[in-house]
């Protein structure tokens, strides 16, 4: 079953309508239409099995004109998607980058396989990958990225192209150390709160997904046990005269009831996937806050550094020793420096101070710009999140309603059979 997510909500509040129009998603239709098992050799020349996904792109205009031109297509595997996303994370740290579907099946209830090769898992991943591409294509800023465009259109040599951008070197390794604390004196309060929110959100959605999996497990048990009625009613009907027919047909309905749970729970997996997307989005949100934290930290360190250099300079110039330094002590012990030496030092320091001031200025500008653009994207993300989750809850309620109606139908049918006993 092919389900594609509709074009996602782009908040017009902070993005111009021109930017919306320019969104790649408006120009091309993207689908991940197939998944195929492949075998190949990995980096260590060992044979491996993996799944490749077919990405198809088609210009939107060609469809409206009534032409049905064949789509362009290429195959990508999950690791290439990961590479793309890491590239985006490094180059757009102020953007809440859409997440990928999970690497390994988690929060599974017992019937579902946790095996990555399982067809159901592969199918749900296919849908998730398509969703990822559409989300990126719908984002006014990252949709314009060239690497992203080539990912969609250029099969060969894309990996090399990405690596050549040298983005891995740009990556701040500190971002990966999620729990390391940096003592930031003046963080933007909004980011602190947001980081706290993203932590809480991750925690609550994880909890929800875990319990939901257990609920699914139990519900499965309830339905399946009813299938036993089907068998025993059938056996019983064999020894009855008048009651036989009624029992037999009621038993059939019990079998139908027991069988209905499979489809019901499969549908519910889509809801779980929608929740998972926002579980991972919370991580992306956290990354942006983290980035701000690090920038602020670097800024404060740079400012501190500058301040201490200025002080050193002042001390050297006025000859007062306000701070303890080993140099000061050794010079006391081994003799003062010459005026020329001191001059030299002051000059070096003054250069460093000048450089530092320039750096601090640009860091400040960088930081302010980051805060501004990040906050814009965060607002966009909030709107999207509220909209999407509301839709998810509605579709969940609709699923429950459908399940209830099916239950009423089956038991009404059974009741009618019993009445004819």
């Amino acid at each position: 079953m092919h389900i594609s997510f509709s074009n996602n909500f782009c908040d017009p509040c902070n993005f111009s309508s021109k930017m919306m129009e320019d969104c790649l998603s408006k120009k091309i239709e993207i689908t991940v239409s197939e998944a195929e098992k492949r075998t190949g050799r990995n980096a260590m020349n060992m044979q491996e099995t993996y799944t490749a996904y077919l990405i198809e792109t088609r210009a939107v205009e060609s469809q409206t004109e009534g032409q049905c031109s064949p789509p362009d297509s290429l195959w990508r595997r999950y690791s290439e998607f990961e590479l793309l996303r890491n590239y985006l994370l490094v180059n757009y740290p102020h953007i809440v980058v859409p997440p990928l579907p999970e690497k390994r099946a988690e929060f599974v209830w017992h019937k579902l396989s946790a095996d990555n090769m399982d067809p159901d898992f592969v199918e749900r991943r296919r849908i998730g990958l398509e969703n990822f591409l559409i989300r990126v294509a719908s984002h006014p800023i990252i949709c314009q990225d060239k690497i992203f465009y080539s990912f969609l259109t250029q099969e060969g040599g894309w990996k090399e192209m990405v690596n050549e951008t040298g983005f891995q070197l740009k990556a701040d390794s500190r971002l990966k150390a999620l729990n390391a604390t940096f003592r930031v004196k003046n963080p933007d309060k909004r980011f602190t709160e947001l980081k706290h929110y993203s932590d809480e959100l991750q925690s609550v959605i994880s909890h929800l997904l875990r319990v939901r999996a257990r609920v699914a497990d139990r519900l499965y048990g309830v339905y399946k046990v009813h299938g036993n009625y089907g068998r025993v009613f059938s056996e019983w009907s064999a020894i009855e005269k008048e009651m036989g027919d009624g029992l037999q047909s009621a038993g059939h309905h019990m079998d139908v009831y027991a069988g209905s749970i499979d489809d019901i729970l499969e549908e519910e997996e889509h809801y779980a996937d929608q929740l998972k997307e926002y579980l991972f989005y919370a991580e992306a949100l956290r990354a942006v806050c983290r980035k701000h934290e690090l920038m602020q930290y670097d800024l404060e360190i740079a400012a501190q550094d500058l301040a201490s250099k200025k002080q050193q300079c002042e001390e050297l110039a006025t000859g007062t020793l306000r701070t303890f330094s080993l140099k000061g002590m050794t010079s006391k012990l081994f003799g003062q420096e010459t005026p020329e030496q001191r001059e030299g030092k002051i000059k070096v320091l003054e250069e460093q101070i000048h450089e530092g001031e320039e750096q601090l200025k640009s860091k400040n500008v960088e930081s302010r710009e980051f805060v501004k653009s990040a906050w814009t994207d965060i607002e966009r993300f909030k709107e999207q999140k509220n909209h999407d989750l509301k839709e998810a809850l509605i579709s969940y309620a609709v699923m429950q309603i459908s399940m209830c109606k099916k239950g009423i139908q089956v038991w009404t049918n059974a009741k009618e059979c019993f009445s004819k006993m």
Binding site: Y197, E200, L201, V204, I205, H207, L208, V211, R212, R214, V215, D217, R218, L219, G221, V222, V225, H226, N228, Y229, V232, E235, W236, I239, E242, M243, G246, A250, N386, L389, K390, L393, I394, Y396, A397, V398, Q400, I401, C404, K405, G407, I408, W411, T412, A414, K415, F418, S419, M421
Partner: protein, 411 residues
């Protein structure tokens, strides 16, 4: 609904006849209107006066005219009975019920008594109404007397006599209620039986103020009886011949087996449902917690949380119903059926066999018919409870759709 007054009386039942058609007396066990009806019932001298059968002005208290010429016309009254559309047009004139359990604490022992209420128009009874208190021992005594005196008939079973002290609380509400229902069923089955209901011991059981005195008298009589009585009480329930009784034996074996399986399945379902309930009880509140983190989503998430809570309540009601209504009835039937199975005895007296067989056959047919009705009702009831459960959940989820779709005020 008027009853009893204004010269409308009931016809006098002819002695030694079977059940008579009910005339203007409202059904005392009718569900909703029983209170008002019962209060109108007073034993009046009119009850004993013969009634003209030619009188065409007869009508039922609810206004439906009664065709006096055919007993089947009382069927509209029968519709108010619990066991409706059975008895093949038989009509009832004897109603019994067991209720109002009370605990008695005496120096020697503590025990429970139940109120046994009788309402009847039969001539065998001096009064139209009786209310006595009986304890389990008394029911047990009655059953033994019936087995002795009516060996050719199937006597309904009683609930278990012995309960393991320490394992089951004999005085818990649940146990007492289960027992009360079983005792009620026991008496009703006897009251419905065309032969057993006229048994002298049964009459005394229903009417005597001091049953113990009568019991002692009865014991004395019994010791005077000879071999023949003991012989008769040897447990002739089902015979090895003729062939059709063997078939009945086979049928009962399989039947009881299937019922046992259904019991196990039902228990398993209840267990699974309760485990499902445990998880649901954790699930709902998580939505609430999440709602606490959010602004715009707070209300929708709270709504979902409350909805799941409602489903929990509905599920709890379903499994309670199944535990309290479905399982006990099923189990009672297993006991009932088991009680009819007895290892076949070799007949000692050929000339009695025919009489025995005819009675047993008639009883079996009655039993089969009742069984069909009972299971129809039981299983339809089970289906109903499940339908109600889903309807409650459906209502809950449908009601939050508008809440979820609600657009927030534009900022």
């Amino acid at each position: 609904m008027s009853a009893g007054g204004g010269g409308l009386g009931t016809p006098r039942a002819l002695p030694s006849s079977g059940p008579r058609a009910l005339r203007d007396m409202p059904h005392p066990l009718a569900a909703s209107s029983s209170e008002e009806a019962a209060s109108d019932l007073t034993p009046s001298p009119d009850l004993l006066l013969p009634r003209s059968f030619a009188d065409k002005d007869l009508s039922l208290p609810n206004g439906t005219p009664v065709d006096t010429s055919s007993p089947a016309s009382s069927s509209s009254l029968l519709n108010r009975l619990q066991l409706d559309d059975d008895l093949d047009g038989e009509t009832r004139d004897l109603f019994v019920s067991v209720d109002d359990p009370k605990k008695h604490i005496c120096t020697m022992e503590t025990y429970i008594t139940y109120r046994v209420t009788t309402k009847t128009t039969r001539a065998e009874f001096d009064l139209p109404e009786y209310s006595v208190r009986r304890r389990y021992q008394d029911f047990d005594w009655l059953r033994n007397k019936l087995e002795e005196s009516q060996p050719t008939h199937l006597i309904p079973p009683l609930p278990e006599k012995f309960v393991m002290k320490g394992v089951v609380d004999r005085f818990s509400e649940e146990f007492v209620e289960t027992r009360r229902k079983a005792l009620d069923k026991f008496l009703k089955r006897i009251a419905d039986h065309p032969v057993l209901s006229f048994n002298e011991h049964f009459n005394v059981f229903l009417t005597a103020k001091d049953l113990n005195a009568y019991k002692k008298q009865g014991m004395a009589l019994l010791s005077k009886m000879g071999e023949s009585v003991k012989y008769v009480t040897g447990g002739y329930k089902l015979r090895s011949r003729p062939l059709e009784f063997a078939a009945i034996g086979d049928y009962l074996d399989t039947f009881v087996l299937k019922l046992g399986t259904i019991d196990r399945i039902a228990q398993r379902i209840i267990k699974e449902e309760l485990e499902y309930l445990v998880e649901l009880r954790e699930y709902g509140p998580v939505y609430s917690t999440w709602g606490g983190l959010e602004m715009e989503l707070a209300e929708p998430l709270e709504g979902v949380s409350a909805c799941i809570g409602n489903c929990c309540t509905a599920l709890e009601e379903l499994s309670d119903d199944m535990t309290e209504d479905f399982l006990p009835v099923l189990r009672e039937y297993i006991l009932y059926s088991e009680s009819m199975k007895v290892p076949a005895d070799v007949e000692k007296c050929q000339d009695r066999v025919e009489c025995f067989n005819a009675d047993l056959k008639a009883d079996m047919e009655r039993w089969q018919n009742n069984k069909r009705q009972d299971f129809r009702q039981l299983l339809m009831g089970m289906a109903d409870k499940n339908i109600q459960y889903y309807e409650k959940c459906l209502t809950a989820w449908e009601s939050i759709i508008p809440l979820l779709q609600d657009k927030p005020e534009t900022k």
